[in-house]
Structures are given as C-alpha cells and as structure tokens.
C-alpha cells in the first residue's frame, strides 16, 4: 500500500549502504517484515540518532513506494530500549539469536502482531533476567516453542502424534527426528528415525513451553538439556534450511553446550 505510514517496529537486520545510508530489515506489528532504506542514517542525528539498532522497539515513519520493494524510512523514535541486554555479552548472544530467528521465520508483508508481541516480551524478559545462562536459555526456548505454536507446527509433547496415547501412560517414549514430536513404540514404523526420550527431557520441554514457577531439576541435567535442545532443533529444521549465523556466538554463551545439531 503506497503512501506514508507509521508503525511500531523491531530492527531485524541493518546493513550499511553507500556513504551514509542504511538498509534495514524491519518487523512491523501491523505490516510484518519489510525492508527500508534510511537515507543519510549514519549522519542524521535528528531523524535517526543512531537508533536503528536491533533489540529496540521503534516507532518508524516510512514511505512505501509503488515502484520499489524497498520502503523509505523517514525517521524513527526509540519507544523502548533494553539496556540490560546491551550491557551483557551473553544476553546480546541470546537476543541476537532470537532476532535472527525472527527474521528467518517471518515472511514479507505478513502482519503477525502475535509474533511481534512475543518478540517484545522476549526482549523484556531478557532485559530483566539475571545473567544466568540457564535462565536466558529458558527464555529463548520458550520463544522458539511459542513461535512453533503460532506458526501451527508445535512439537506434540503430550501424546503420541499418531494414536493419541497420552505420554504419561507410555513406558517408553520416542521423539521423531523430523521434529513433529512424541511417538509411542507401537506406532513407530521401520526406518523412521527416532530417539528414546528421557522423562526429564519431556519435563524440561514442558517447562520451556510454559515456564511458570520454580524451574525443574531437569534444567541442570546436561543430558536432558542436550536432548531438549536437539528436539527443538529438529522442529526448527522444518522452517530453517541453514544454520543461523548467530548460532556460534550463542553456543559460546550456553551453559554446557554439549553436542548440538
């Protein structure tokens, strides 16, 4: 829709262009993902003032042009910043991963206020959290599982994805490597890649899904944590066809990174 617009946005990526311009990938609450050029952004103190940064909530004034995929960012106003994130390397690592995750799992011109609000809640949570890598990871995994839910493909953690038997009544539980969730021994087909899931892993994944109250002891069980990460990664691989660029930095900030996919 050509014309002037104002939206609440998060910056998902920023690339310096030519002498003084910036091209930003933005995620607008009412518009979804789009790219915009900010002319003279590196020189302008009034219109941009160095505010085009990831992990900040901005009010952006921009013009959508009929003959271009690239909108023109006219000015921004920082509505909310997260100094707690910018003041801690591990939080920057987790925040960057979540930002890239959002960039990869959203599509252009698809307004998703639910995902936008989810990302905002994640940044706020990260901003206030203690600098404990395990607690930061809980916030990240919650974000990922919520993303899967909003995108319509959460891994099923409560029952066998084929016969619907509740996981509580199963002696042994498997996870499909394709990332769909839990499957019971009776439903597993020959040749289907599966792995046995520890009960603590399921407990941990459920906590990631709804992190209320005291974290379960499984959070400090490195085997359960590693397995939970692999199950989330398997589901993520349905949406991502490459390893995220921010992943190596994230891995340096994870507690007990173990063997990751």
């Amino acid at each position: 829709m050509a014309g002037k617009h104002t939206s609440l946005v998060f910056v998902l990526r920023k690339v310096e262009y030519a002498e003084r311009d910036v091209i930003a990938t933005l995620f607008a609450r009412d518009r979804g993902r789009f790219s915009a050029i900010a002319k003279n952004a590196r020189g302008s103190k009034r219109r941009f003032g160095g505010g085009i940064q990831p992990m900040r909530l901005l009010r952006a004034d921009y013009t959508v042009r009929t003959n271009s995929d690239l909108a023109r960012l006219e000015s921004i106003d920082v509505r909310e910043d997260f100094p707690g994130i910018e003041g801690d390397f591990d939080k920057i690592a987790f925040g960057s991963y979540a930002t890239e995750w959002t960039r990869e799992l959203t599509v252009d011109a698809d307004p998703r206020p639910d995902l936008f609000d989810l990302v905002g809640r994640f940044y706020r949570r990260l901003d206030r959290a203690d600098c404990d890598p395990l607690l930061l990871e809980v916030a990240l995994r919650h974000l990922q599982l919520q993303f899967f839910r909003y995108l319509g493909s959460p891994p099923n953690l409560d029952e066998c994805i084929r016969c619907g038997t509740p996981t509580e009544s199963m002696q042994k539980v498997y996870a499909l490597r394709a990332g769909d969730g839990i499957i019971c021994p009776d439903c597993v087909r020959t040749g289907e890649g599966v792995g046995v899931v520890f009960p603590q892993t399921l407990e941990l994944l459920r906590y990631f899904r709804a992190p209320q109250g005291r974290p379960p002891d499984a959070l400090t069980n490195s085997d359960a944590l590693a397995q939970a990460r692999r199950i989330i990664d398997a589901t993520a691989s349905q949406f991502l066809d490459r390893r995220l660029k921010s992943r190596p930095t994230l891995e340096t900030s994870l507690k007990d990174p173990g063997e990751l996919i």
């Binding site: 160095g50 505010g51 910043d81 003041g87 390397f89 660029k245 921010s246 930095t249």
Partner: protein
C-alpha cells in the same frame, strides 16, 4: 564465474564492492570504457600499488607501508596505553582530535553475532598477545586499554567480550564515554542516548 565478455567481468568486479549494486557497477564500467585509456591505467596502477605496498602493522594491525606503522614506531608516544578501534578510519578520527598520545590496536571489524562475525574473525588474538607479552608490544608492558568501538549493539558486544578477556590480566580497561553530542539539542536526543548520558553523568 568469469565470462568471456570483459565488460561483464568489469561490471561483476565493481558490483563486488560494498554499496555498489549492478546498475551503478554497469554505469562505472561504461564510464571507464568511454574515457581515455589513462583513466583505466591510473585506476589499475593505484589498485595494484595499494595491494602490493600497504599491509597491516605487525604490532597494531593499522595500515602501513612498513613492517610497523608510524604510530608504533614513534618513541614519544605512550605505548603502555592502547586504544582499541574497529577500523583505520576510526583511528584517524581519534588521531584528528589530538587528545590521545598512546598506541592503537585496529580490530578490522567488530563482533557481530547477527552477521556471524566472532572474535576469531577480527584481529582480537593479536591484541590479546600484545597484552600478555611485552615483547609483542615492542618491549612495553600494557597498563591500560581504552575500548573505542561505536555505541551500537555490535560495538557493545565487542567491548563486553574484551572486558571479559582482559579482566584476568590485571590491566585497566575503560570504554570511551557516550552521551549527548556537543551542539545538539536535548529534545531531539533519542531515549537510549539520554538514558546513557544520565547514567554516566560526571560530577562538576
């Protein structure tokens, strides 16, 4: 992949430069083609010279034509204080202030998790070597490191990483101040800058 068509190759070569898209690359290529041969000769010669003669200072990674740069060779500078900058342009900006008489270290980039740039992708290990051994710093032990990266997320990530790596070495580490730019008006200053200016206020 190289084409048999020299014009296509030139356009592709220009398009590899930062900030130059296909259209601009094409305009530059045809400009060079329509100008006298001397322009192409001069450009080619300057490009080759810069690649042949300019290299990184073996101590601070600044750009130089010698083994060590003029700043590292200067006997009247304080080599026990190192100012860490992202690139040679930032070094020049600080030199132009005339306020700093120490040495530098040029990282040639900043840590950028979103772009997949980690500490191993910039000249961080050379800096840590200088801090750990006086020999790697021309015989002078380093007493202080000033981190002068931009106050962006990537600049902060770099500064925080350095702080973590340097703290155990018992070397003083500081970060350049950030806040309201001189000559600007408070009402037009963004929230983040003002918050930081307030939290890092100084006593009068």
């Amino acid at each position: 992949m190289k084409s048999d068509d020299p014009i296509t190759n030139l356009v592709s070569a220009f398009a590899r430069l930062p900030g130059i898209g296909e259209r601009t690359a094409s305009r530059l290529a045809f400009y060079v083609l329509n100008e006298p041969d001397s322009l192409a000769d001069d450009i080619a010669e300057a490009l080759m010279a810069v690649k042949d003669q300019v290299n990184l200072c073996e101590r601070c990674c600044n750009l130089t034509q010698a083994e060590t740069c003029s700043i590292c060779r200067a006997p009247d500078r304080d080599h026990s204080t190192i100012c860490v900058v992202a690139n040679a342009q930032d070094l020049r900006a600080i030199e132009n202030t005339g306020e700093f008489d120490g040495a530098y270290h040029v990282l040639h980039g900043v840590i950028s998790p979103l772009e997949g740039v980690g500490p191993d992708d910039i000249h961080m290990s050379e800096l840590l070597e200088r801090l750990q051994s006086a020999d790697a710093n021309g015989g002078t032990e380093v007493q202080e490191v000033i981190v002068a990266t931009s106050p962006s997320v990537d600049g902060e990530a770099t500064s925080l990483y350095l702080s973590k790596a340097i703290k155990p070495l018992d070397i003083r580490i500081s970060r350049i101040a950030s806040g309201v730019p001189i000559g600007s008006e408070l009402e037009y200053t963004d929230k983040s800058t003002l918050s930081r200016a307030l939290s890092e206020r100084r006593e009068l």
